[in-house]
């Protein structure tokens, strides 16, 4: 599957990265080069193989359902690009 300019535009939109139009062709070529190299995985017989999502044994550990951290709006908003009174300030979403 070749990656064309339209695919790059679509993926960049999905990834929320603004890519200038003059970069799109070069990116398509780069990504094609990488994906072509990756295609060799098709040679591997994986019939009946269970996908490996983790090297750690199955079963997520459980803990008591209690608050362990929190209640510190000052610390949490300290790194926000914009904040006021312990709240994050974000661009208007609803018109």
């Amino acid at each position: 599957m070749a990656i064309d300019a339209a695919t790059v535009r679509k993926v960049a939109r999905l990834a929320r990265i603004a890519e200038p139009e003059e970069r799109i062709e070069a990116l398509a070529q780069e990504l094609n080069g990488i994906m072509t190299w990756i295609e060799q995985l098709a040679e591997v017989d994986t019939d009946g193989v269970e996908p490996m999502t983790s090297v750690v044994g199955a079963g997520a550990p459980l803990r008591e359902d209690v608050v362990t951290m929190g209640g510190d709006a000052v610390a949490i908003t300290l790194n926000a690009p914009k904040s006021t009174g312990g709240f994050f300030v974000v661009p208007k979403v609803v018109e």
């Binding site: 929320r16 603004a18 890519e19 591997v44 949490i76 926000a80």
Partner: protein, 490 residues
């Protein structure tokens, strides 16, 4: 050369305990070395005041007889570990203003044991790179140079700052992380020792995430014993990381110097790759001979899916990265760029904040996870990953550890591979398999090439069997007698 900065971690701890010098003296010597080494660009942030305060507190603890296992030892911290109140950038513009309000578990354990922080070390942006050239703050320069040449060489990546700081005697040891080889390849390029432990040994809490199923912290150090001392402090169960293993942490240093007589060492035939420099072939043969002499039994093993490890990695790691890095949206922390609407703010923020390699990997990850391609790429890669892990399971029926080269070349010049992503990715051909399988891997310096540059050997162990890895590394270190240091030019 300053006598205090040329000490190993172990020798420095012994000197502190004997009262030969104080932590303040030791730390001051390192602060001066760090300041003099700015041309290497190893540090993104120097924290001399904090270092001296921590050193004074350490001296006070030692006077009371309450010194911890690393008390008073000045260390460098890769700028991927969040440090409370100390800027943490991941070498990215998007985190340039970020000052964590919490401490990573790994660093908190080092401070618990008395260590002193000298500052934050440069790396490839978000640990994505093998040459340090993707750092938004310029590459680290390798302290090593080819004989008779002034060419700037890469220290490797992504933990290039950590490796350089240790190799140039700027710190007694450093934290690092390894997703595909980011501890071991820089260690090999700089004549230092680095170990990535079994996945789950070190907590990932507070470490800026790249690819969560592969990321693992570990130390870079001057000797095998120093690496063992640091790793013992860094490991341990952490309820804040759901993949952290609840298993006892052995005293890893106790394994260094143990006899390796009777151990079976596997030599994977698939690691003899095309175009491997003859010097690396020879180093590998030397390593085999040294271990034979030490009483090991050498067995040939096969890891038939080795050649598929890198392509599988370049699906799994970007897929996880695209998900992990979705959090950088300009709302809660980090950079925010302006835009006409919310989507544009996101898009402009991420375009301005991420460098080219990070963008490339996010785009690949987004592509392989997108509708219609998920099964063909992502699921396929996860199945190949299991094949790779099964290769190791079969090898362990015949041997106790594996011996391989660490990297397919010595350190190369800055700019030499930066126009060809795949050529750069191939740096990790010998290291990436252990990340996919979750196994411990250690690199130690074992010789010099014809240009006088260090070369590394890698020991791969069974899950949770870092002890055997350290014993084998100790035997190789003794036999190799590697004592070379970079000639100071900075």
């Amino acid at each position: 050369m300053n006598a205090l900065t040329s000490l190993t971690l172990k020798a420095a701890l012994d000197g502190l305990e004997a009262g030969d010098f104080t932590s303040v003296e030791l730390t001051r010597a390192h602060i001066e070395a760090v300041e003099a080494a700015r041309p290497l660009n190893a540090f993104l942030l120097e924290t001399p005041d904090q270092a001296l305060a921590m050193a004074a507190a350490s001296d006070a603890r030692r006077a009371l007889g309450a010194a911890g296992p690393l008390d008073g030892a000045p260390l460098g911290i890769k700028d991927l570990f969040c440090t409370h109140g100390v800027r943490t950038t991941a070498a990215s513009k998007i985190l340039e203003p970020f000052v964590p309000q919490y401490e990573s578990t790994v660093t908190s354990q080092l401070w618990r044991d008395g260590a002193v922080m000298l500052g934050k070390l440069n790396l490839d942006e978000f640990a994505m790179g093998s040459s340090n050239e993707t750092s938004a703050y310029g590459p680290v320069i390798n302290p090593w140079r080819k004989g008779g040449s002034n060419q700037a060489l890469t220290p490797g990546g992504s933990s290039g700052g950590s490796a350089t700081a240790v190799a140039a005697d700027l710190c007694l040891g450093a934290t690092a992380t390894d997703t595909g080889g980011s501890i071991r390849q820089p260690a090999a390029f700089t004549g230092t020792v680095g170990i990535k432990p079994t996945y789950g040994r070190c907590s990932r809490w507070g470490v800026v995430a790249f690819a969560s199923s592969l990321d693992q912290a570990g130390p870079i150090a001057k000797t095998v014993e120093d690496a063992a001392l640091l790793l013992t402090s860094m490991c341990g169960h952490d309820p804040k990381d759901s993949t952290s293993l609840d298993v006892p942490v052995p005293d890893f240093a106790a394994f260094v110097g143990k006899s390796v007589k009777g151990l079976r060492i596997g030599i994977p035939k698939e690691y003899r790759v095309d175009n491997m420099p003859a010097e690396i072939e020879k180093l590998w043969a030397d390593g085999i001979a040294w271990l034979k002499e030490a009483g090991c039994e050498i067995v040939e093993v096969s890891l038939p899916h080795t050649k598929y490890a890198l392509p599988a990695y370049y699906i799994v790691a970007p897929a996880e990265a695209s998900s992990n890095l979705a959090r950088y949206d300009g709302m809660r922390y980090g950079l925010r760029a302006e835009g006409a609407n919310l989507t544009e703010v996101y898009e402009n923020t991420r375009a301005a904040g991420f460098g080219d390699e990070v963008k490339r990997r996010i785009l690949i990850g987004t592509y392989v996870l997108s509708a219609g391609y998920y099964d063909a790429y992502y699921l396929k890669a996860l199945k190949v990953r299991r094949r790779i892990a099964e290769d190791f399971d079969r090898a362990w029926e015949k041997c106790d550890a594996l011996l391989t080269p660490t990297a397919p070349s010595a350190a190369f010049g800055l700019g030499e591979n930066s126009n060809d992503p795949i050529a750069m990715y191939l740096n990790d051909v010998f290291t990436v398999t252990t990340n996919l399988a979750g196994l411990p891997g250690l690199s130690l310096p074992a010789g010099l090439d014809a240009n006088g540059l260090p070369l590394g050997l890698q020991i791969i162990g069974k899950p949770l069997d870092e002890g055997t890895v350290f014993s084998v590394a100790g035997a190789l270190e003794k036999a190799a007698g590697f004592k070379a240091k970079a000639t100071k030019w900075w």
